[in-house]
């Protein structure tokens, strides 16, 4: 870990002094209890290295992910093919976990934690001043179209809109990484990098699935 902002606490400044590039550290004479104390102190102070941009990104991404939960929950009741149902279940599993992690990230930093409420296709995100107008978010009309589709038509609309939605998340990551002040929070860097890699990978997969959904009068085998 490294101190990179002026928010560094005393513990971190001490680290910076001890950790000048390339010096040989003194022999490790600290007791386990001392090391544990250092661990918790540094873990706490590391948490305080973040910017307003990080908070905006994390807060926004909670709402963004939440819409994917709404979309995914429709798959079992809208006659989706089993491959789309599996995809939807994976998206729900992953994005719900990430929402929990992002909520934890905000709460540990004393920032307002948005609460997600889902009722049918309606999504409400409480406790944040940030808007839900984010790249890739489905409009109410698009959400209605998805909800009205069934079977193979649902697969088609779901895949197209989930690609749009994922691309939006990738755009949000690119915007974060394009800031004049680079991301300093390790957790946000890791999370954003992962969202980018994971969702790009899923976009490719959904592209393949969409390609496979031809207008053949086929009945899916499973």
């Amino acid at each position: 870990m490294r101190p990179r902002t002026r928010l560094a606490t005393g513990a971190l400044q001490a680290l910076a002094i001890a950790a000048c590039g390339g010096t040989t550290p003194p022999p490790n004479s600290s007791s386990t209890a001392e090391l544990e104390a250092i661990y918790w102190a540094r873990t706490d102070s590391t948490r305080m290295r973040f910017t307003e941009t990080d908070v905006q990104f994390v807060t926004g991404m909670i709402g963004h992910h939440a819409q994917a939960l709404v979309m995914g929950a429709l798959a079992p009741t809208h006659g989706a093919s089993s491959s789309v149902q599996i995809l939807a279940a994976r998206i729900i599993n992953s994005q719900q976990d990430e929402i929990n992690r992002m909520q934890q990230w905000l709460s540990e930093r004393g920032e307002p934690v948005p609460e997600v409420m889902i009722k049918g296709t309606e999504l409400m995100v409480h406790g944040t001043e940030y808007t839900l107008h984010m790249p890739g978010m489905l409009t109410p009309e698009q959400m209605r179209e998805l909800d009205e589709a069934q079977g193979k038509e649902f697969d088609n609309v779901f895949l197209r809109y989930m690609i749009q939605h994922h691309r939006g998340a990738v755009t949000m990551v690119e915007e974060l990484f394009g800031q004049e002040i680079a991301t300093q929070d390790e957790g946000v860097f890791k999370l954003a990098s992962y969202i980018q890699a994971d969702q790009l990978t899923e976009i490719v997969r959904m592209g393949r699935m969409l390609t496979a959904l031809s207008d053949l009068p086929l009945s899916g085998a499973r």
Partner: protein, 655 residues
Amino acid sequence: MRPPATVLWIATGLMVLSACAPSATTSEAALSSPGPALAAPPIPDPRIGLRAGLFDAGEATWNLQVLSSTPPPSEFIGSINTDLAFTGNYAIQGSFSGFQVWDISDPSQPSLDRGFVCPAAQSDVSVYRHLLFVSGEDFGGRLDCGTQGVRERISPERFRGIRIFDISDILNPKYVGNVQTCRGSHTHSVLVDPRDADNVYVYVSGSAPVRPAEELVGCSDRPPGEDANSALFRIEVIKVPLARPEQAAIVNSPRIFGDLVAPPEHGMSPADISRIERAREEGIFVVEIGSDPYFLPPRFVDPLLDSIAQASGRPAPTAADSSALRETLPAIIAEIVGHYDTPTTGPTQCHDITLYPAIGLGGGACEGYGFLIDIRDPVNPKRLTAVADSNFAYWHSATFNNEGTTILFSDEWGGGMGAKCRASDPKEWGADAIFTIDDREMEFRSYYKLPAPQTPQEACVAHNGSLIPIPGRDVMVQAWYQGGISVLDFTDPARPQEIAFFDRGPVDSTRVTMAGSWSAYWFNGVIVSSEIVRGLDILELLPSALLSQNEIDAARSVKLDYFNAQAQQRFIWPPSFALARAHVDQLERAYGLDSDRIASVRRDLAAAESVSGAARREALMELTARLEEEAARARNPTRVRVVAGTVRSLANATR
């Protein structure tokens, strides 16, 4: 001790376990095998319900012994430990803060000989001779190793790429060079070309964002269609002159991702396959689109058949028309499907590439795909084939078996930040996928996932591991973050089986934190594990009904000068009594020879070992002859011949 709710949860976890192959099959196999009844994993699994703690967490081990657990030096406490590389008596452990040099010549008491502070994520490390390579990808790494980070979006002080250190004097590493790359280096792999003694090659995988051209000339994140120089859809090949490492430079940026049109999904389960076979037998037309089999209804097929019959001047289709249609159907389907635009173009990067120069192959774990790569021309690697898997989220790393006939890919579902080994998480998600390699194509065989459920507070993910040189078997040790360490036998690629494990409780029982084993590798007789926050663990294998002391001793007889997990070296076992006995143990386990004959072979080996020189040689040659003569009548002739061959090599090596 535990509240009833916990007990109930444990019972549920076990049910999940026993309902999933391979656990059920391996337990049966273990119970029916000779030897002590300890072959089956302990029940209940002791990994469930371990106490939380940083340096005092509860621990569970099975067929492993912890020799030492050494916390990081205070300078590195609170940072993230990453990958390992080995040279001589040293383990080099990467860290987001730099790297640490451990002397592991006494594995029960490793000593930190050097902590080198030079921050970068993730500090993936490799060694080759006197050189150490370290990866950096984040925005805060600095050319001067400073700890203050880099705040500006564009900065001449930023380092993203490969750092090169001269470790001729390993206690005083000299920072001798850098190669900056557009996407930095998330991981890298060192390629030793057997025909080039003057250079070593480094393949760079970078998954982080492309940096602006204002920071590094020529970098572009536009798609290759818009900019031929795009930093996407390529890896970097760095050539490092061993005598002048400071002159290391990128010599090629091969585009191994292009035209990814091969059938991408390995897809079908045995149940699907048998269903398709049944359908085909019934005369139903089946096509595969992606990984999904589609059964063509008559209203689609009949008009096609009619038109084929018409073209041949027949009033109604015949069996010949039917088989003609079967041949042309894939093309017809391809044409119809082809009308749809594919919105994307496949992966833009690999997460990691494991190079196995002895067989000329690399295994690429590349976002949504697993690649086989031809690496015989080090500067110009070429993709041979690609597989995808709808159960895989993110292809993370690859490990070949020693023969190069099997490859295991891991899925980094959750990116190492999520708790993805909960009882509720499917066993096919976030698992290893095992493929056999035949004629440079990969065929899916099975999944392997850490069999014990972990708590929702433990970040758990299939991570880095390496082969253990057990002769005659494919055995690997693998890290699973807070899922601990799992040793698996995948000799039968369709039935991987856990044979040993080590696990700790979470660091914090209230929330998910980064911790656990990042990498667990075998090196010269021990298993070394890089604990993300707790330091360095060293373990040794214990004999069990699943693994004999002779097999462990034979594994320990393989000595390497250095080791990087992503640069596989072929294991060669020197002739030894342990090696011969290991093969005898395997012969016994496979019921390859009657038990009185097994006992007799063991007596003969002991007798030969008790004498020396010509007498030993003669005794071993006699045993070889007897075994070869017996092989033809044995239940398992191949295994008997393996024992005979091992004894013969031992005789030939006897002076």
